[in-house]
């Protein structure tokens, strides 16, 4: 029996290649975003570790106001290796098109712990200045050019002799002020007042795991607020924090995609169950139980789900290093594919669950009808009318539109799911428009701490959602036509013209889409506010897309739906009435 059920499931996949392909496209997109969200942070972990190793990174890094404090911390038990305290002072940059703040670290000799790792030119402490790479990139400063600093005694011009990275310095401008290394004498020239200096003590411990305990002891040795202590874990988290907004966006879009997957797959499976109404009746007549019929659909959903998860995992693992690229500016090498097998499981469970639940929910009704009814009528009778359908019946709408709406709303679940898919897609577009408005609202010339990859990622995911929703619309409209061919024959017999039938189909889908698109605006605004707050954005920087941009959402939706349903509408009108009446 199991073999028979499996055969039936695969026959179902083969017989509905469009629906199967759409399901795989959707489910793999959802799986890919889950994998991306999980992988993005991890793909930069190895490069950070390599940078940390190259720098002989500090397990604990303390910054205190005096050299004496720094030395006293270095004398605490557990220290395996230390360096001389390094003084630093703030300076103001007078070149590179802005007035950015910069912390200058004054080195007497090459650092032994937490050493800057050279990426171009000379290594610190060379004569001149070595800039932290992300700072140099953000300000467009190149090796060989000059860095002009505003010092108390006037401007000081320093030749830029190299760039370097540090595992303890996150990407500029999120980590602001930027960082540069100069010889001690240069620091004294830029900031002669030593009371303005801070002292950094870089410490390596006998065991890295002891860092939190050592940091607590070090923190207790100076008054609260007088200094700063960072463990190697803090440094890593801060360095990789660029991927946090990307992870939040990916998590949000994962939820959105899972909702769309649930909606669309339920529609597709439901359409299959409806189209195979008689076949299901025959299967039950030959002895299959309702549970076994459900198993056939569940097997089909599971097979599509497994394929989707594999595709999604591969795509997610390949794309993750690109999205973690912003961190690379502070690392020695670019993020690499991590492809944690556990992520396959984590991505697979929700996707498979959504597919199986939607298959179960779609087939529940189809397995409840009587065998005789199924075999005789060939199609399920529509569900009892909703209040909405009754309201439409009483509304003074044009007859084709009223008929189209009654038809569409006869499958309430399908209409709701279609509306839901359009609403969340519209909300994602509102999200992208608001994000663009927020980025555009930043003062000209100010360096943004939002990585370039973030908007590109959001636009790409929006494009994926739009493609999916449009394809879904075409598929659903085609399914509606296929299911209603006989009804179109009846309507033609009663006297509806082909144009009226086509306009009824397009009009009904457009009306449902318009309601969903209008709802998507507040949903999108709430979503944007929530994600902005979770990502730690300041409420002053939050800008919602202007009203004229938001009106593009319903207008665009109407155009999209009209275009997507035009072809199915045309098909609906072309079938001769006599052929349509013979259709089963």
């Amino acid at each position: 029996m199991t073999t028979t059920l499996v055969k039936l499931a695969f026959a179902g996949i083969r017989s509905r290649l469009l629906a199967s392909g759409l399901t795989i496209l959707l489910a793999s997109a959802a799986a890919a975003t889950i994998v991306l969200a999980l992988e993005v942070g991890q793909t930069a972990r190895d490069p950070w570790q390599r940078t940390f190793d190259a720098a002989n990174g500090a397990h604990v890094l303390t910054t205190v106001p005096s050299e004496a404090d720094a030395r006293s911390i270095a004398s605490l038990p557990g220290v395996a290796q230390r360096d001389e305290p390094v003084p630093s002072a703030l300076a103001r940059v007078a070149s590179g098109g802005g007035a950015e703040r910069l912390r200058l670290a004054g080195l007497r000799s090459p650092a032994r712990v937490n050493a800057p790792v050279r990426t171009e030119g000379a290594a610190p402490p060379a004569q001149g200045v070595v800039l932290e790479r992300s700072f140099a990139d953000a300000l467009g400063l190149r090796v060989g050019s000059e860095l002009r600093l505003a010092a108390p005694g006037g401007r000081i011009a320093l030749p830029i002799v190299g760039t370097a990275v540090s595992p303890a310095q996150a990407r500029y401008p999120r980590s602001n002020p930027g960082l540069a290394w100069v010889p001690r004498r240069t620091l004294e020239r830029v900031e002669p007042d030593r009371s303005n200096w801070a002292w950094t003590e870089a410490i390596r411990l006998t065991t890295a795991a002891a860092a939190p305990a050592f940091a607590a002891r070090a923190g207790a040795s100076f008054p609260p607020g007088a200094g700063d202590v960072q463990t190697w874990e803090n440094q890593r988290a801060e360095a990789l924090r660029d991927s946090q907004p990307i992870a939040i966006i990916l998590t949000t879009y994962t939820i959105v995609l899972l909702i769309v997957v649930f909606a669309v797959v339920a529609i597709l499976v439901g359409a299959r169950a409806s189209a195979q109404y008689r076949e299901i009746g025959l299967l039950k007549a030959v002895g299959l139980t309702p549970r076994q019929v459900t198993v056939v659909f569940a097997l089909e959903a599971a097979a599509l789900g497994v394929i989707s998860v594999m595709i999604g995992f591969a795509a997610g693992a390949l794309l993750a290093p690109r999205l973690a690229q912003p961190s690379a500016e502070t690392l020695l090498s670019s993020p690499t594919t991590a492809a944690n097998p556990w992520h396959l499981l984590v991505a697979g469970i929700p996707v498979l669950l959504v597919l199986l639940v939607s298959a179960r929910s779609a087939t529940r009704r189809s397995t409840r009808f009587s065998v005789l009814q199924a075999i005789q009528s060939g199609a399920p009778s529509p569900a009892p009318r909703s209040r909405l359908a009754r309201a439409i019946a009483g509304a003074p709408l044009p007859i084709p539109l009223a008929l189209g709406l009654k038809d569409l709303l006869a499958s309430r679940q399908r209409a709701l799911r279609l509306g839901g898919a359009i609403a969340v897609t519209g909300a994602a577009v509102v999200f992208a428009l608001s994000m663009k408005a927020s980025l555009d609202a930043q003062p000209v010339g100010e360096v943004s701490d939002v990585s370039e990859e973030l908007p590109v990622l959001v636009y790409t995911l929006d494009a994926v959602l739009l493609v999916i929703t449009t394809t879904t619309l075409v598929a659903i409209a085609l399914l509606s036509v296929r299911e209603r061919i006989r009804d179109y024959g009846i309507l033609k017999t009663v006297g509806l013209t082909p144009r009226e039938i086509g306009s009824g189909l397009v009009g009904a889908h457009t009306a449902v889409a318009l309601v969903a698109a209008l709802l998507s605006i507040p949903i999108g605004i709430v979503l944007f506010r929530a994600v902005f707050a979770i990502a730690g954005g300041s409420s002053e920087d939050l800008v919602i897309a202007p009203w004229w941009a938001l009106t593009l959402v319903p207008i665009g939706t109407l155009l999209l739906v009209a275009a997507a349903t035009a072809l199915p509408g045309r098909l609906a009108t072309r079938i001769p009435a006599a052929d349509a009446l013979r259709y089963e």
Partner: protein, 243 residues
């Protein structure tokens, strides 16, 4: 007097995957106003095809169809649809009610299509349903009706605009004896009000009620039998109410 419906040299060929099937091979048929004609013949002889061509639901391969002297086989799909709205009613063996509409909505649909006001259409549909004995099932969905009730609703829909001609494809073929008798009675009542009836049937009782029986065999008219003298022509039921 001009016949209400006329077919000349009507032929229809179907292409079934490369093989041509001759469903009709040159049928000549004339239906006078107020006449009740039954078309009989074995399965596959072309009865339903002939009915579809006469109703403008399908296009002939050759020949012509005239309704009140006007040639309709060359009309566009839209023109044919508008013509059917007012002048042709159709009753099917399997009722073919629209499942998404209630019984009364099915009946009022043709009235709305010819521009009747919503309230007016609902009132007429309600009266018609009451007259056909399904007045108490107005709000029911088609699936909630018995076969006999569904056929009465389908008949009400076909008669709603008081068309010149009512075509029926085995209208009693899927009904029990009592329901078949009732539906036949209702059809005869429509004819008595002056409407022309053309029914395809296997049922000898239906044929016996007709004025004339046309027998088809292998896509050709093989026999015509006059059973009753044609009744006097009266104005069709409800004609005076038409917009």
């Amino acid at each position: 007097m001009t016949p209400v419906l006329e077919a000349r040299g009507l032929a229809k060929t179907y292409d079934t995957g490369g093989a041509e099937v001759l469903a009709l091979r040159g049928v000549d048929l004339t239906i006078e106003r107020g006449e009740f004609v039954a078309i009989m013949g074995p399965s596959g002889c072309g009865k339903s095809t002939l009915l579809n061509l006469l109703a403008g639901l399908d296009r002939p391969t050759a020949g012509e169809v005239r309704l009140d002297g006007e040639r309709i086989d060359r009309l566009s799909e839209a023109e044919l649809a508008r013509l059917r709205r007012r002048r042709v009613g159709f009753v099917f063996q399997f009722f073919n009610l629209l499942p998404a509409l209630s019984a009364v909505e099915n009946v009022e649909l043709p009235l709305l299509l010819v521009g009747r006001r919503r309230k007016d259409a609902r009132r007429t549909a309600t009266e018609l349903m009451a007259e056909l004995g399904v007045g108490d099932r107005r709000a029911a969905a088609p699936a909630q009706l018995s076969g006999g009730q569904q056929q009465r609703v389908a008949l009400a829909r076909a008669l709603a605009n008081a068309p010149d001609i009512v075509l029926g494809d085995e209208p009693t073929g899927n009904l029990d004896s009592a329901s078949a008798r009732d539906v036949l009675g209702l059809l005869r009542a429509a004819r008595d009000r002056g409407q022309t009836l053309l029914l395809v049937t296997h049922d000898a009782r239906v044929a016996a009620a007709a004025d004339r029986v046309v027998a088809l065999r292998d896509g050709l008219v093989s026999d015509e039998t006059e059973l009753h003298a044609a009744r006097p022509v009266a104005l069709p039921f409800g004609r005076e109410e038409r917009a």
